[in-house]
């Protein structure tokens, strides 16, 4: 069914057997399928890391850039061609560590991007060092004596920065994740889905079982337009961890704040004519 998102010549992920990334890929394909999006209408921008290899394993347009820099190209892409659906696939190190500054400032701008972070609470590709979301005290391949900094709470941070769509997902709950992804992709503005993704090699604490035991769906009547409630839910990260849309409100996307973008064709489609620029000489006479 979702074969249209499969590369003919390249489809064997370099992920470890049993890795949570596989299910995220499955969910993403399904979400795209259900949204009726064709491969050429979608772009995935990613950085570097295990998660960030996604563009190679789903056949849509892909910009597999530098570690930590998944968001800036995504912004460039969206602003250049507003017709494209822009998705960012990234790891916790990529988005919250190396790319932390882009993370907070992209939120402020509310550009129409769906940002999916495979949060395995570890640096997978570089062999198991602490990421910004690794628990304090956890022993790693670099933090021999345990991590000595407090973990960053990505959803709380996104809320504080004013994100209009903030969600938590779990790679072990694909149907739920598919739904979150569809919502995030369709949301007009910046949407974060922080996805728990067990790394079966390097993170022996936050395993499938660990998450399974803890995650629960936000209750049916949960009012995701209430920011204070959302913040409370965001801070729940202990024995019980809520997943789902923590917060969602309407917000004017950045692109729409520019008349010339909102009310014209995508920039990429505009006619270029040097002669049209002659009039600007008026400033210099």
């Amino acid at each position: 069914m979702t074969t249209k998102y499969e590369y003919k010549l390249y489809d064997q992920p370099a992920w470890c057997p049993g890795c949570g990334n596989y299910m995220i890929r499955t969910a993403l394909k399904q979400a795209l399928e259900e949204l009726g999006l064709e491969p050429h209408q979608v772009v995935i921008s990613s950085g570097i890391g295990q998660a960030a290899k996604m563009p190679h394993y789903i056949k849509v347009n892909g910009f597999n850039g530098l570690h930590g820099r998944a968001l800036p190209p995504a912004i460039g892409i969206k602003l250049a061609n507003k017709d494209l659906k822009v998705i960012v696939e990234s790891g916790d190190g990529d988005s919250y560590g190396e790319g932390g500054n882009h993370f907070i400032h992209t939120i402020r701008h509310n550009i129409d991007i769906a940002h999916f972070v495979h949060d395995n609470q570890i640096y997978g590709l570089t062999k198991g060092q602490a990421s910004p979301t690794t628990a304090m005290g956890q022993h790693t391949t670099l933090q021999f004596d345990g991590v000595k900094a407090e973990p960053l709470n990505p959803v709380a941070l996104a809320l504080t920065m004013g994100a209009g769509f903030v969600a938590r997902g779990f790679s072990g709950d694909t149907p739920h994740l598919v739904n979150l992804m569809k919502e995030a992709i369709m949301y007009k503005g910046y949407a974060l889905v922080d996805i728990f993704q067990p790394c079966v090699v390097w993170n022996r604490v936050n395993t499938f079982a660990w998450y399974k035991q803890r995650v629960y769906h936000l209750p049916d009547g949960y009012d995701y337009t209430n920011r204070e409630e959302a913040m409370k839910k965001a801070m729940e990260f202990g024995d019980k961890i809520p997943i789902g849309i923590l917060y969602k409100v309407e917000k004017e996307p950045y692109e729409d704040r520019f008349d010339f973008i909102k009310n014209g064709p995508p920039l990429v489609d505009r006619e270029l004519n040097p002669k049209d620029v002659e009039k600007l000489l008026r400033d210099f006479v």
């Binding site: 597999n64 460039g76 014209g264 210099f284």
Partner: protein
């Protein structure tokens, strides 16, 4: 005829406004104008000055010798008096420099009359125009174009009042005005806009901010997305995203900001995505001198980025060149799918000069973007291995059923990660092969001066104007001297140099840096060593006079 007027005072006293009115008025009176700016890295206080030089012949640089000093404070007189010519004039308000032998005028009084203290400098403008007997109505036209409503009116009253305060000294006739007056940053922005740049992002940094600001000011009108980003690391990555999606994209900064783009420059090389980046240099290392000039980033730009990939580096020589070269940079970037780096500096970015209006008919937009015909087989190969090294480029979303994948890892023709040794070699060779095309593309340096000279100067970028003036003066004295002025500087064109070299007795490197970077490049690329170096690195731009003098003292 030629005159040189200095306006000096503290930051915040309005030197720029008055300088701007004066230069535009002189331009509209039909003169060639060159305005040099010297300012400190502070918002109020300190000492800043503008020097407005004008003539009936084209000007390429500033000059140290002054005909008029318009002093907004006493410090200005103390600092610049020594440069005043024998028959030069100092004008200032009655309350400044009391007791000194200068021309005191009731400027502040005049401004009080119109109840706007800010316009007392405009009264000074009136006085200056009167010295040359130039018609007031041209100045009034300029004022009306720059200001509106009440502010325009009080300024006009002030300029008229100033005009009355003084007599004519050097009566000049107005001439036909066919020029524009523009600075280097504006010229670059105009070139980019003319070339169809639809995405410009940057982070403020003196002296490059002018490009960003000019682009922003035309964003709405021209439909250009202009982004102030969170940091320079974001800037180039973002521009690359925009370019990948298919618009012409550019970013820029000064050296320190460019330093933060270095990793992404290497990315541009790897994903073969065209982009134009400008480095408006200032004295470094580190924060250095934010508002002053230097040319010390040449080797840095040529080698910036880990690994090996082709790039082009173009040094901009003056605001005319800056426009056409910037526009050309977009074509080359897209033709070869490489980053093109433009080099300017504070001097070039800030001085304004009269030049003939840009010929927009000469700007050709050549995009090298393919459609479905570029897809061979089932899946599009973004990095198809070709003889030229350049792969047909389609845009994401523009060919149904086809996707565009770019990858910062080493990749195969489709853009997928590979670790194969053979594919690696094939891809490195493919990328490097572009250099062959690029070598055909590069233009030899401009030659100025006496043909086949005994003394040959090599220089690059913004020193052009000062070198030109010096060479012309020396040629006038019968000295056999010429200069190669590099614009395209990487890959370094060496043909002209090798042709001239056999007859050359002295090869003189002139640069605004401390190590002689062009000399090092020529040694490397042509195995030739300059016999003399005239270097300057005090943050102030060479003038033609200074080069002339140093050539006489140190070389000729």
């Amino acid at each position: 005829m030629e005159y040189n007027i200095l306006i000096g005072g503290e930051a915040g006293q309005g030197m720029d406004t008055i300088g701007n009115l004066l230069e535009k008025t002189l331009k509209r009176c039909g003169f060639y104008v060159f305005t040099y700016k010297d300012y400190m890295s502070r918002i109020r206080g300190g000492h800043n000055f503008n020097q407005v030089r004008f003539s009936d012949k084209p000007l390429y640089t500033h000059s140290p010798d002054l005909d008029i000093i318009f002093a907004l404070n006493e410090e200005t007189i103390n600092l610049h008096n020594s440069r005043l010519k024998q028959d030069g004039i100092i004008i200032c308000d009655n309350d400044i420099a009391k007791g000194k032998e200068v021309m005191h005028l009731p400027l502040v009084e005049a401004s009080k009359k119109v109840q706007d203290m800010r316009v007392y400098t405009t009264a000074g403008l009136g006085a200056i125009l009167k010295i040359f007997g130039l018609p007031l109505d041209i100045a009034e036209g300029v004022i009306r174009d720059e200001f509106s409503g009440k502010i325009a009116e009080t300024n006009i009253q002030a300029v008229r009042a100033g005009y009355e305060m003084i007599g004519v000294r050097h009566k000049l006739e107005t001439r036909e005005d066919k020029n524009i007056i523009i600075n280097g940053n504006q010229a670059v922005a105009m070139g980019a806009i003319a070339a169809g740049c639809k995405f410009y992002c940057g982070y403020p940094m003196t002296p490059s901010s002018g490009v960003l600001t000019f682009m922003a000011s035309k964003s709405d009108e021209m439909g250009i997305m202009v982004q102030q980003v969170e940091d320079e690391v974001a800037a180039l990555n973002m521009a690359l995203g925009a370019s990948y999606a298919g618009v012409r994209a550019m970013t820029g900064s000064s050296g320190g900001g460019f330093a933060l783009m270095v990793e992404a420059l290497s990315l541009a090389g790897m994903i073969e995505t065209p982009v134009v980046v400008i480095d408006v240099q200032r004295p470094a290392p580190a924060t250095g001198f934010p508002t002053r000039t230097e040319q010390a980033d040449l080797r840095f730009l040529i080698h910036a980025g880990h690994g090996e990939f082709p790039r082009m580096v173009i040094a901009l020589r003056d605001p005319e060149d800056a426009f056409y070269q910037t526009a050309r940079a977009f074509n080359i970037a897209e033709k070869y799918q490489i980053p093109v780096l433009l080099m300017s500096d504070e001097y070039l970015s800030d001085y304004t000069v009269t030049i003939k209006p840009y010929d927009f008919g000469k700007v050709k937009i050549e995009r090298y973007i393919s459609g479905p015909e570029a897809v061979e087989g089932e899946e599009y190969k973004r990095f198809k291995i070709t003889e030229s090294g350049v792969s047909p480029r389609i845009l994401p979303g523009k060919v149904e059923g086809q996707v565009v994948l770019v990858d910062s890892d080493e990749h195969d023709e489709w853009g997928h990660i590979t670790e194969g040794a053979e594919m690696r070699v094939a891809m490195v060779d493919k990328r490097m092969r572009k250099l062959e095309g690029l070598r055909q593309e590069i233009e030899e340096p401009w030659f100025i001066g006496k043909e086949n000279p005994e003394n040959l100067i090599v220089c690059w970028g913004s020193t052009y104007g000062a070198v030109r003036e010096a060479v012309e003066r020396l040629n006038g004295e019968g000295i056999s001297i010429g200069a190669l002025v590099y614009g395209d500087i990487w890959p370094l064109p060496t043909r002209r140099l090798m042709e001239l070299y056999p007859k050359v007795q002295k090869l003189i490197d002139i640069e605004q840096n401390a190590t002689g970077q062009l000399d090092s490049l020529i040694k490397e690329e042509a195995l030739i060593r300059c016999s003399h170096k005239i270097l300057k690195y005090d943050g102030r731009a060479f003038s033609g006079t200074e080069i002339y003098n140093r050539l006489k003292e140190e070389v000729l």
